[in-house]
Structure formats: structure tokens, C-alpha cells
């Protein structure tokens, strides 16, 4: 392995890292409005991707339908999680939603294992053309497709948050819920919609993870949950730009560690990266002084 291989590893990692960015954004969005972590989020995203497979596998729909179906299913699961794990749970207790969402994480994983008999399921690539060569480096076509889809999803999200009425309400509820209500925004409606939006994003992430790995397996859910949380912490809870950058960073770093050492040691170094951040920059990448309030 030479220098070129390491750079190549970083490139691949950056492309795949956009899926981690999406998962990180989802954690952060929900944290923004609820001030709670939805532990079941990554599992729900992958469950959405599994649901997408129903189209081609059971209904005989064309292979490409797996992508929109995954996204829609994950959005619906997001709303279901809001109803079951947040809406009627006493939010004042810090542990209550942690327990309910961990329970949901286990439940979703269990449902997936049962309905697939624990067997990995093939997942189509988003794009399988020729790789793009740039000098001595190559951009894998499937990863390039994943990258473009994830970046497009982020662009849509940012436009939604900063250019629409719903986005205004989401940010208002996150920053000052009482004043948001005084402006006529309905807390529960905004919270529910935030779960749907986060769910849709997770669906994109889940589908793109399936598309780049080439399959879905129940074993993916744990590591993606952990990496999503790492991305959220490194990016800073509540920061969307932070989650985007942290996702790329974790994606690049894990691939580089894998090239430098090997796949079994890889996650040790990712954890160490988290440790370094917790010690040196506990507020996350873009931690700033908070406004007066």
C-alpha cells in the first residue's frame, strides 16, 4: 500500500461519508426540536430501506422503485416513532425517551431479523456505470451516485429549512418553543413533521448505505447507530453544518484507518477519534458562544 492507495481510501471514504452526514443530520434535527436523542433513528433508516425491497421482491415492481419506496417508508416509520416514543411520553424525565427509543431500536431490528430470517438481502446500486478516472485515482461509479444523491438530499433539506414556512417553524420551535407558539406555530404538528423529515433523510441514507454495500444485513444497524452518534457528537448536537462535515470526516477517517491497519481494527480508531473530540472539543466542530437567552 502506498500513498496513492491512502488518498484513494480517503476519496472513497468521503463519498460514502455523506451517508453518515445524513444520519448525523437526522439525529441533530430531532435533538433540535425535542432536546432528546432518538436512539432508534439509524435502525429506522435501515428498516425503511428494507421496506423498499418489498417493491421489487414481493410486488414485482422495477428495481429502481426500491429507492423512493425506502425513503417514503422511512418517513412513515419516523412519524410512527414520534407517536410511540415521544408524543405521549413524559418529556421532563430525561430517561423516558432514551428507554422508549432504545426499545424501538431493538424492536425494529427484531422485526427485520424475523422477516428476512436473518439473511442478508441484495440491494441494487444507485448507478453502475464506468468509474471516473482522475490521474491515478478512480471515483467508483456507485459511490459517486451515492454521493450525488446524498448531497442533493442535503440541499433539499437546507432549502426546506431556510426557504419555507415549515422550515421557519422548525427553527423557531428549536430555538424558543414558547415564542413559537405565541407566533401561532403548533408545537406538536411541527415536532411530528420534524420526525417525518428526519425519517425521509434517514431513508435516503439507509438506501444509499444498501446501494454502496450491495446488500442489507441486520448486522449493519449497530455500527451505523454508533457512527451516527459519533458524527452527531463530533459535529456538535444541533448543528447541521457540523453533522455534514463530521460525516465526511468519519467516513474518510474510517476508510483511511482501514487502509493503514485493517478492517477489524478500524472501528477502534473511530472510537479514539470520538474520544479525542470529547476531550479537546466537547461542544463539537462548530461550537460557538450561544446567543444571549
Amino acid at each position: 500500500m502506498g500513498f496513492v492507495d491512502y488518498v484513494q481510501a480517503v476519496i472513497d471514504g468521503l463519498l460514502f461519508g455523506t451517508t453518515y452526514s445524513l444520519i448525523g443530520i437526522g439525529f441533530t434535527l430531532v435533538f433540535g426540536v425535542m432536546h432528546k436523542i432518538n436512539m432508534s433513528y439509524a435502525a429506522a433508516s435501515l428498516a425503511g430501506a428494507y421496506c423498499g425491497l418489498v417493491g421489487p421482491q414481493l410486488l414485482g415492481l422495477p428495481a429502481w422503485t426500491v429507492f423512493p419506496l425506502s425513503i417514503i417508508a422511512a418517513g412513515a416509520i419516523g412519524y410512527f416513532i414520534y407517536l410511540t416514543c415521544f408524543r405521549f411520553i413524559p418529556l421532563a424525565s430525561p430517561l423516558a425517551t432514551l428507554m422508549s427509543t432504545v426499545g424501538m431500536l431493538l424492536l425494529l431490528d427484531e422485526i427485520v431479523v424475523h422477516s428476512t430470517a436473518g439473511m442478508p438481502q441484495n440491494y441494487p446500486a444507485i448507478y453502475d456505470g464506468d468509474p471516473v478516472e482522475i490521474g491515478s485515482f478512480i471515483l467508483r461509479a456507485d459511490l459517486l451516485g451515492v454521493f450525488l444523491v446524498c448531497v442533493a438530499a442535503m440541499a433539499v433539506l437546507l432549502a426546506l429549512l431556510y426557504r419555507t414556512r415549515l422550515g421557519l417553524a422548525t427553527r423557531a420551535v428549536a430555538q424558543q418553543p414558547v415564542a413559537a407558539q405565541l407566533c401561532g406555530m403548533r408545537l406538536q404538528a411541527v415536532n411530528g413533521l420534524t420526525f417525518v423529515i428526519a425519517g425521509l433523510l434517514g431513508g435516503v441514507a439507509g438506501a444509499m448505505i444498501g446501494a454502496s454495500v450491495g446488500m442489507l444485513s441486520p448486522l449493519i444497524s449497530g455500527p451505523i447507530t454508533v457512527k451516527g452518534l459519533i458524527v452527531t457528537v463530533i459535529g456538535g448536537l444541533g448543528s447541521i453544518p457540523g453533522a455534514i462535515v463530521a460525516g465526511l470526516l468519519v467516513g474518510a477517517a474510517e476508510n483511511l484507518f482501514q487502509a493503514l491497519r485493517n478492517v477489524t481494527e478500524r472501528d477502534i480508531y473511530v472510537m479514539l477519534l470520538l474520544f479525542v473530540f470529547l476531550v479537546l472539543r466537547p461542544g463539537g466542530l462548530f461550537a460557538t458562544a450561544r446567543g444571549r437567552d
Binding site: R165, L168, A169, R171, A172, Q175, Q176, V178, A179, A180, Q181, L182, C183, G184, M185, R186, R290, G291, R292, D293
Partner: protein
């Protein structure tokens, strides 16, 4: 215009309002006085639909507000400038104002209201793209008032708008309150600065320990021994 009857609002087992009744006349400036912890903020939030009362009724122009959600109350024409201002700190001044117009869909009118408010509050215009969290206390108070006005309220409620502000800014706020009232907006305000309030308000209520204990016109307030001692200092009011 606003009729509050026997309202009881509780936090858990503690009743903060123990049967409050008062009314606000259309076109008036009505002022609510009371010591810390009397329940003034609780009453404001109850009227605004943020808190749900145990008992009682809040009528506004004939409609019952108890049981309505906060967005319905805004839609009926009541806006609250909350205690501590509660601006959206990471949003720009313009976005804060857009949030105030959240329930409106008349985009042309919203834009012209925005320009009118910028003319009334020039400091906000200068800082229109600055995050609200970086404004001074006085500017944030102006922003909170402007945001409430963006919903085009008939009744504007203000919870201690002069709290923690310099005398010059307090005067500015009272000048604006007078202006708004002349423009036809009814004002219901909580105010500890009784000297200032006496200059503008038409009607006073005193609230103590969750009950209204005095109601009267400015002249009667100045005569009332208890209020004078508590709010106007020992010097004789003029």
C-alpha cells in the same frame, strides 16, 4: 373586549391563579400591577393559550378562549410580548418578524407591514440581517414588540416590557405603547414601573397571591395607600 372570569390556573398542585376576574375595555390601555410571584405572567400565558386553566372563562369579543390552542388565540387577534422577550436568538431580525406573521398569507401586506415597522423601529432596520441574539436588551424588546405586531393584533398584551432596561429605553417603549393605542390597538400590560404606567394607562388592576385585590382608574391608584407605598415610593404622587 377581554373578560376574564374566575380563572384558576395551577402548576401541579400549586394554584398560581386562585379565581382571577378582570376585564379590558376596547381601545384602552390597561395595566396589571403586582409583586413578584403574584401570578401576572401565569395570567398572560393562560389568556394566550399556552397554559390551560383548571376553571374559569376567558372571553374575547364574545368568543370563549379557554380550551383553544395558542394559534387560535393569535388568529382571533391577541398577541403577547412575553416576559423576557423570548426572541429567536439564531434567527435574523427579519426572520423573527416573519415568524410573527406566521399565520398570515397576505404576502403583499406582510411586506408593507414590515416596512412600516422598520420605520417605527429604525434600530431594527439597521440590524435587519443580524442574529436577534446579538441585539442589546432594548433592541430585543423592540423586536419582541414588532414581532407581536406582525400578527396584526386587536389586543396587544405585554409582560413587563420595561424590565431591566435603561430609563431612556423605557420612555421609548411607553411612547410606542401610546402610539399603538392611538392607532386603535387595545393594550393590556403587566408593568412594575407604576410611575410610567400612571402616565399612559386608563385602568389599573393589582394582583396579589393569585387574586385581583384592587381595580381602579389612575386617580384612585394614586390615592390608594397600599399601592402608593409599594409602587410609588413614600413620596406623594403628583
Amino acid at each position: 373586549m377581554l373578560d376574564v372570569k374566575d380563572v384558576v390556573t395551577a402548576y401541579g398542585k400549586i394554584e398560581a391563579l386562585k379565581g382571577v376576574s378582570l376585564s379590558v375595555e376596547p381601545g384602552s390601555i390597561t395595566c396589571l400591577l403586582g409583586p413578584n410571584g403574584a401570578g401576572k405572567t401565569t395570567l398572560m400565558y393562560t389568556i394566550a393559550g399556552i397554559l390551560r386553566p383548571r376553571r374559569g372563562s376567558v372571553r374575547f369579543g364574545g368568543d370563549e378562549l379557554v380550551g383553544q390552542s395558542a394559534d387560535r388565540v393569535v388568529n382571533r387577534g391577541i398577541a403577547l410580548v412575553p416576559e423576557n422577550r423570548l426572541v429567536f436568538p439564531q434567527m435574523s431580525v427579519t426572520e423573527n418578524l416573519a415568524a410573527g406573521a406566521y399565520l398570515r398569507h397576505d404576502h403583499g401586506e406582510i411586506a408593507s407591514d414590515l416596512e412600516k415597522l422598520f420605520a417605527r423601529f429604525p434600530a431594527l432596520k439597521e440590524r435587519r440581517s443580524q442574529p436577534a441574539g446579538t441585539l442589546s436588551g432594548g433592541e430585543q424588546q423592540m423586536l419582541a414588540v414588532a414581532r407581536a405586531l406582525m400578527s396584526r393584533p386587536k389586543l396587544l398584551m405585554m409582560d413587563e416590557p420595561s424590565m431591566g432596561l435603561a430609563p431612556l429605553v423605557v420612555e421609548e417603549i411607553f411612547r410606542i405603547v401610546g402610539e399603538l393605542n392611538r392607532d386603535g390597538i387595545t393594550i393590556f400590560m403587566v408593568e412594575q414601573n407604576a410611575h410610567m404606567a400612571l402616565k399612559v394607562a386608563h385602568k389599573f388592576f393589582l394582583m396579589e397571591q393569585g387574586k385581583v385585590t384592587f381595580a381602579g382608574a389612575p386617580g384612585e391608584v394614586a390615592q390608594d395607600e397600599v399601592i402608593r407605598r409599594a409602587y410609588l415610593g413614600s413620596a406623594k404622587a403628583t
